[in-house]
């Protein structure tokens, strides 16, 4: 440890919501100039704790001492001015304003003119090695650039502690490396970082100390080198799991179910590949390489300039998602809240959406069958919901994802395309989703899987295609080929 000074001390903090004890006797001590990881499954209490620190929630009891000052009641703006900033996963920026205006949002009067404001913004961005033009609109920035703006904003308040909530979720590998360099740099300047993430690799690479939270309690706080990955997972989920991934399913069929002859769009160039029955085909590539565009074209979600696909040897015309569905393809979209779920609707409505047409006679829905379908899928996927009529938005991310899985399993498509199926989902549920995928292919369906988590694709896929700048840049067997070679082909 560089320094033994304590920047933040949380002692026996409790927070209850009616019916739920969100935090019980949580205590964390964060030392100045460290990168302190907080890990835990979704709903473990990480967010509640961070929201108490930032002043969004008020604690029921306990003490919080930040930078030598005991803090009873605080508001978000007071916290920031005190030097405690939080950068949320979804970012808190105004899209229609420029970078400079966002950094100094609400402080224009202190800035003595726009030119001076942009000058100061420039200095801040330079100090973290970013070259973003301060006059650019935030809406034109990539996720990584937005993050840089958020960090500059935090630094503009002379933040001593920056909390980063899932900062890597939308970054490419390159951008992640840059973020790590920046965090290391901040650490050496004495800034403390609390790093919240599901991605254990990142935590092992970056952090000094890790605090594990489960069911509203702090389970353990340890220096990172005193823990193994397995121990950390066990503490997070409260039980041992031997493997993060189930054993790779074998391809037992030798039949080609889909043959993509050509896809050409503005972005994609001469995409062609085959998919075997019972196979899991992984797509690896950087965000923006064209992975999502390929599957969307196959499913009919995007218009393709040229699209030639054979299903079971005969050509199919796919112009819209409905055609894709009728051809025997299902798509679990990348963004489950925006593209997958109808959030205000019930779990049942969301599960039956795609099969409703099939259980209708002369246009009338068979409501007992509808109920049956929902109950069957809730049971077989063990979706945790108080009732089929609970609103899907009240469910955890993993259970929401299972609802969309259930929607497709009910139809039993020949091919199920999974675009980032485990994004933002906790470790325990991830494993359940892997098992589901395995069962699916064992029953004769085929799966195309896109994931930004390389270990996941490599562990699950029978075959991997690397996508780079709209082209297929390589084909690999993840059992034989090294992750390094695969990543190399993906980067191009």
């Amino acid at each position: 440890m560089n320094n033994n000074d304590v920047i933040l001390s949380v002692q026996n903090v409790n927070k209850s919501f009616p019916g739920v004890r969100a935090l019980s006797d949580a205590s964390i001590t964060v030392r100045k100039g460290t990168v302190h990881a907080v890990v835990g499954e979704n709903g473990a209490g990480k967010s509640t704790l961070m929201k108490i620190l930032s002043g969004v929630y008020t604690k029921d009891s306990g003490t919080v001492v930040f930078d030598g000052e005991t803090i009873e009641h605080t508001t978000p703006i007071q916290s920031i001015r005190r030097g405690l900033s939080i950068i949320y996963q979804e970012f808190n920026l105004v899209n229609t304003l420029t970078v400079g205006e966002n950094i100094f949002l609400g402080r224009y009067s202190e800035m003595k003119g726009m030119r001076n404001m942009h000058k100061q913004a420039r200095t801040l961005l330079d100090s973290i090695g970013s070259t973003i033009d301060t006059y650019r609109l935030v809406s034109d920035l990539s996720a990584a650039e937005k993050q840089m703006v958020e960090i500059s904003k935090a630094l503009s308040f002379n933040s001593k502690l920056i909390i980063m909530d899932e900062p890597s979720s939308s970054l490419t590998a390159d951008e992640l490396t840059q973020l790590f360099t920046l965090i290391n740099d901040l650490r050496s300047k004495g800034v403390t970082i609390i790093y919240i993430s599901h991605k254990l690799d990142e935590i092992f690479e970056l952090c000094d100390i890790v605090t594990i939270v489960r069911d509203g309690q702090v389970i353990d706080t340890k220096p990172i080198d005193h823990l193994t990955r397995g121990e950390m997972i066990a503490k997070m989920i409260g039980r041992e799991i031997e493997n993060e991934f189930p054993s790779r399913p074998l391809v037992t069929y030798n039949k080609v179910v889909m043959e993509v002859k050509t896809i050409n769009t503005r972005k994609l160039k001469d995409i062609s590949f085959e998919l075997k029955k019972g196979e899991i085909l992984g797509f690896v590539g950087l965000v923006g390489a064209g992975r999502t565009e390929i599957v969307r074209a196959i499913y009919g979600a995007d218009k393709a300039g040229e699209l030639k696909i054979l299903m079971n040897g005969s050509p199919v015309k796919i112009r819209k998602p409905r055609d894709g569905k009728h051809a025997g393809i299902g798509l679990l979209p990348e963004d489950r809240k925006l593209e997958g779920l109808v959030l205000p609707f019930s779990v049942q409505s969301n599960i039956v959406m795609s099969s409703l047409e099939n259980i209708s006679k002369f246009g009338f829905i068979n409501s007992s069958k509808e109920k049956e379908i929902a109950e069957r899928q809730i049971k077989s996927l063990s979706i945790k919901t108080p009732s089929p009529h609970a609103r899907v938005k009240t469910l955890s991310g993993g259970n929401q994802q299972k609802c969309i899985m259930g929607r497709w399993l009910e139809i039993n498509p020949d091919i199920l395309i999974l675009d980032e199926p485990t994004r933002g989902i906790d470790v325990g549920t991830k494993y359940e989703i892997y098992l589901l995928i395995k069962t699916l292919v064992e029953n004769g369906s085929s799966v195309i899987m896109i994931s930004s988590e390389l270990p996941e694709v490599l562990a699950m896929s029978n075959r991997v295609l690397t996508i780079c700048e709209g082209r297929i840049s390589g084909e690999f067997n993840p059992e034989v080929d090294s992750a390094h070679d695969i990543m190399d082909a993906a980067i191009g």
């Binding site: 919501f17 009616p18 019916g19 739920v20 969100a22 509640t48 929630y57 499913y299 979600a301 819209k320 998602p321 409905r322 894709g324 569905k325 009728h326 798509l331 979209p333 925006l338 593209e339 997958g340 779920l341 109808v342 959030l343 205000p344 609707f345 409505s349 959406m353 795609s354 409703l356 047409e357 209708s360 246009g363 009338f364 829905i365 409501s367 609103r391 938005k393 009240t394 929607r407």
Partner: protein, 328 residues
């Protein structure tokens, strides 16, 4: 988690918000009946039923458009052109065939609206707002061109006797007016459609999340065209009922019907955000809108003040709508 915080105490509030319109209706009836006993007279009741007429049909159609996440401002132009075309045809092909043509025209114009929206890629309520507003101008101008700007009086204009028109305009069957029976018929049919059929449910999916519905294999484009076609048909029914009641039909006959229909739908509790709503709610919404103006008339409230009240009620209804849905 904040949701749980407010959950228990808000159950009652939720219930109140859900059925607020009913409470308001009851309150309005009681207050007006006390202040102005004429409110409860048979004559006023008949009067109320007549006013219910055109608006209720337009609002039923509008319910599905709003439930599907869209909106239709082309109502005034459509009412106008349908009324004019139908009346112009009466002497040529007879009353009932002319009405059939009117219904067909409404459906076709609705289909045109919907197809236009789908083909220009208008997938938001805001875009639909402007496009249908433009279409309304076109339809209304066409009606003016067609009639040369003159009004039509079916009571004196035509050689044919017009029994159906007369019945729709002032006929009674039992305690209720014929047009109200017709409304009950459509209410029942559309309620069954909304709750029991795939198409009805597909509309709510489309309104709930257009992208998710489309990716889930729901034929969203056809749904959008369909809701506008249905809306057009219902506007045509409304248009016919309207000219049956007012003997003199002017090209501006449909003005403000879009406003009142949207108001009735939203006050009833169908969400402007799409996905959630019901024709039963619209029934209550129409009842409230009609009662409101009836009460204000009886109580002698000045016309412009009435407009102010109407405006306030609409804003309140939209505010409530957002509140209800922000709760999750």
């Amino acid at each position: 988690m904040t949701k749980q915080l407010t959950q228990e105490r808000s159950k009652f509030v939720d219930f109140l918000l859900e059925y607020l319109v009913l409470f308001v209706i009851v309150g309005l009836v009681i207050v007006t009946a006390i202040v102005e006993p004429a409110f409860l007279s048979q004559r006023n009741f008949t009067n109320l039923m007549r006013q219910f007429g055109a608006l209720s049909f337009v609002a039923l159609g509008m319910t599905f458009i709003i439930m599907g996440g869209f909106i239709d401002l082309s109502v005034p132009g459509m009412i106008s052109i349908i009324a004019m075309v139908t009346l112009s045809l009466v002497d040529i092909i007879g009353e009932i065939p002319a009405m059939m043509i009117g219904l067909l025209l409404g459906t076709m114009l609705g289909t045109l609206n919907g197809s236009l929206l789908v083909n220009v890629g208008a997938n938001t309520q805001a875009k639909a707002l402007f496009i249908t507003f433009g279409m309304s101008q076109i339809y209304r101008a066409l009606a003016l061109i067609l009639t040369g700007g003159f009004s039509m009086n079916w009571g004196t204009l035509f050689a044919h006797p017009m029994p159906v028109t007369r019945a729709l305009g002032s006929g009674m069957w039992g305690p209720l007016s014929i047009s109200f029976w017709l409304f009950i018929f459509f209410l029942v049919v559309l309620y069954i459609f909304q709750s029991k059929t795939f198409l009805g449910r597909a509309i709510t999916y489309t309104g709930g999340n257009l992208t998710a519905a489309e990716l889930g294999g729901i034929p969203t484009k056809r749904i959008v065209i369909f809701i506008y076609a249905l809306g057009g048909f219902m506007v045509a029914v409304g248009s016919i009922v309207l000219f049956s009641r007012v003997s003199v039909t002017v090209p501006a006959i449909g003005d403000f019907f879009e406003r009142d229909a949207i108001m009735a739908v939203v006050i009833g509790g169908t969400s402007l955000l799409g996905g959630k709503g019901s024709v039963i709610r619209t029934f209550m919404g129409v009842a409230l809108v009609i009662l409101m103006s009836n009460c204000m008339n009886l109580l002698g409230v000045q016309t412009h003040v009435q407009e102010v009240v109407r405006g306030i009620i609409l804003v309140l209804a939209i505010w409530l709508d957002h509140r209800r849905h922000a709760r999750g």
